[in-house]
């Protein structure tokens, strides 16, 4: 098996004179959980379609599981699972029939469908028509077909949009279970919060380009966003403490028993030592790291694709 499950180099996709994907480089290691984050229309879906061989790049090269997806043999597609954004099925079919149909196409024994239906929690509804399914059930059926035949590589396009938080968690738990067995996954989403603990690496897309790629801590480090230090101060001392801390950061809020102060992550230790020097006057201290949304917003607002 190739070390790199996905290797994208300099890929450009234009529709007419509109560039949807511009000069994207991305590589995903085997077994890695990669998440693509970006606003609507950032090019996430198009990038996935390129990797699936559904459309062809205007420039650049793609290798998926070692071969070009546009010309890959049918057998290669057996090793790939795909859950499209807002997945649709023949609504007159029953859930079980839908899954059996896709299993036959993939050359998977129809008997293997039953455990998969159980795994996604559709056992009870398997003999109902898909037209009666809720959004969450359709999405789970979508994941079930993507799981057929234990694929090496899973593409999940906004798998949890429109799901409630409980379902969302169940969904990611399932994906985690799959990745434990060595499945590489590429998931797209528009919320960093959602995928926080679910991604080995995160690529942030903006206007068709990848503006940042790395682990969550790398991304937050690169963004070097300020942390907020929240102090509880002995009554009567806030004003004097605030005055002495002012050169070290930005005072955001002062009242009679507390101070909020923001400072750059890089100079935090200097600040901490300084605060420790105040002794008993400081009753308590909290450090609030930048929120994931702040990190995301930072890349969305401040980083321009070259």
């Amino acid at each position: 098996m190739a070390d790199k499950a996905i290797e994208v180099t300099g890929v450009v996709k234009r529709y007419g004179d509109k560039t949807v994907v511009s000069d994207v480089d991305l590589s995903v290691r085997s077994g890695e959980r990669m998440v693509l984050i970006g606003h609507n229309g950032a090019g996430k879906t198009t990038l996935m379609k390129l990797m699936l061989g559904l459309t062809h790049p205007s420039a650049g090269q793609l290798r998926v599981l070692g071969s070009n997806p546009a010309t890959a043999a049918a057998a290669q597609r057996r090793a790939i699972g795909y859950l499209p954004e807002s997945v649709a099925f023949h609504s007159a079919m029953k859930g079980r029939e839908v899954l059996a149909f896709y299993a036959r196409l993939k050359g998977v024994a129809v008997a293997k469908c039953q455990p998969i239906l159980a795994q996604v929690g559709l056992e009870q509804a398997a003999d109902r028509r898909v037209s009666t399914y809720s959004k969450g059930m359709r999405q789970r059926l979508g994941l079930a077909q993507a799981m057929l035949g234990n694929p090496q590589l899973l593409f999940l396009d906004e798998p949890t949009s429109g799901l409630d938080p409980t379902l969302r968690r169940q969904f990611y738990d399932l994906i985690d279970t799959l990745s434990l067995s060595g499945t590489t996954s590429l998931t797209s989403s528009h919320s960093l919060n959602e995928v926080e603990a679910r991604a080995d690496r995160i690529a942030i897309m903006k206007n068709g380009a990848i503006v940042a790629c790395g682990t969550l801590s790398e991304l937050s480090h690169q963004a070097s966003l300020p942390i907020v230090v929240r102090l509880r101060v002995m009554a009567g001392h806030t004003a004097s403490i605030a005055e002495r801390l002012a050169p070290m950061g930005e005072i955001q809020r002062v009242n009679d028993h507390g101070i909020d102060l923001s400072c750059l992550g890089t100079s935090r230790m200097v600040l901490f030592r300084h605060i420790a020097g105040f002794g008993d006057v400081i009753e308590d201290m909290d450090v609030i790291p930048p929120r994931l949304d702040d990190i995301y917003n930072y890349y969305m607002e401040h980083v321009q694709p070259q």
């Binding site: 559904l54 597609r77 057996r78 795909y82 649709a88 023949h90 007159a92 079919m93 196409l105 050359g107």
Partner: protein, 275 residues
């Protein structure tokens, strides 16, 4: 081959599920039976078996109904799946695009085959059992059934071509109706008008017959009404068609190319299409 069989079976089951098969059987069976029972009364002096006679009326019926059923089945086949989003998922499976087209084609042909076999076949069996005409003329009747299926195939293929060329289902539906009107109604009307206007009879027999070969539905008529002598007598179109000396292989070849060419064009367009 396996993929085509799976897709064809899926399409056929879909036809059973949404009552397409049942509706087509009832439509073809009921009209055929009505025509045959009425038609068996006035055979009178012309010595023709009930089956022969009914070939004439059933040919006129099929020329309208089969293209209609075929187009209704096929106009949605590709554009519908694009619109619903099911095609996107299907093409990430180990299936080639030409296999998708062939799978649907065989599935829809199975639906038409069932409808023609049960509908027309059933009507014939009932007629033979309940009248004393016997099974004389069954060859002509069987030819009519087979060629009706071929006519259906022509319009299934044309429906796919429409389905792959347009972007919206509603456009495809409109285009399918226009296609039906042109090939089944308007072209014949135009030919008729041409004959009426031609007082000086400048249009020769050969030219007129040639013009008939352009439309697949007229090719189908020629095939059924001229191949068997007895049918030709009853058909009473001796003036035009009975004297035409087109061979059966030529007529069959023409109809077959009306199936093959649109199918090939559909695959070519589909292959180039980006999703």
């Amino acid at each position: 081959m396996r993929a085509i069989a799976i897709l064809a079976m899926n399409e056929f089951l879909d036809g059973l599920r949404n009552r397409w098969v049942a509706a087509a059987i009832i439509l073809l069976g009921a009209t055929a039976l009505a025509l045959m029972l009425v038609g068996s009364a006035p055979t009178g002096t012309i010595r023709a078996g009930a089956l022969d006679v009914s070939v004439v009326s059933l040919t006129s019926l099929s020329v309208y109904l089969l293209p209609l059923i075929a187009l209704l089945l096929s106009f949605d086949a590709l554009v519908g799946e694009f619109e619903r989003g099911t095609m996107l998922l299907l093409l990430t499976y180990p299936v080639a695009r030409w296999q998708v087209v062939m799978g649907k084609f065989f599935g829809h042909m199975m639906i038409l085959l069932t409808a023609v076999a049960v509908g027309y076949g059933g009507a014939a069996v009932i007629t033979v059992l309940f009248t004393d005409n016997g099974i004389e003329g069954w060859q002509a009747y069987a030819t009519m059934m087979g060629s009706s299926l071929l006519l259906g195939a022509v319009f299934v293929a044309l429906g796919y071509l429409v389905s792959v060329l347009v972007r919206e289902r509603s456009t495809a539906a409109g285009a399918a109706i226009v296609l039906w009107l042109i090939f089944v109604v308007l072209y014949d009307l135009a030919l008729l008008g041409l004959l009426l206007a031609d007082h000086e009879q400048k249009i020769g027999q050969a030219l007129f017959s040639g013009l008939m070969l352009i439309s697949p539905s007229d090719t189908y008529r020629l095939l059924n009404l001229t191949t068997f002598d007895t049918v030709g007598q009853v058909a009473g179109i001796a003036g035009v068609a009975a004297r035409s000396d087109f061979s059966v292989p030529l007529l069959l070849g023409l109809l077959t190319s009306w199936v093959v060419l649109p199918l090939a064009a559909t695959m070519t367009v589909f292959h180039r299409r980006e999703l």
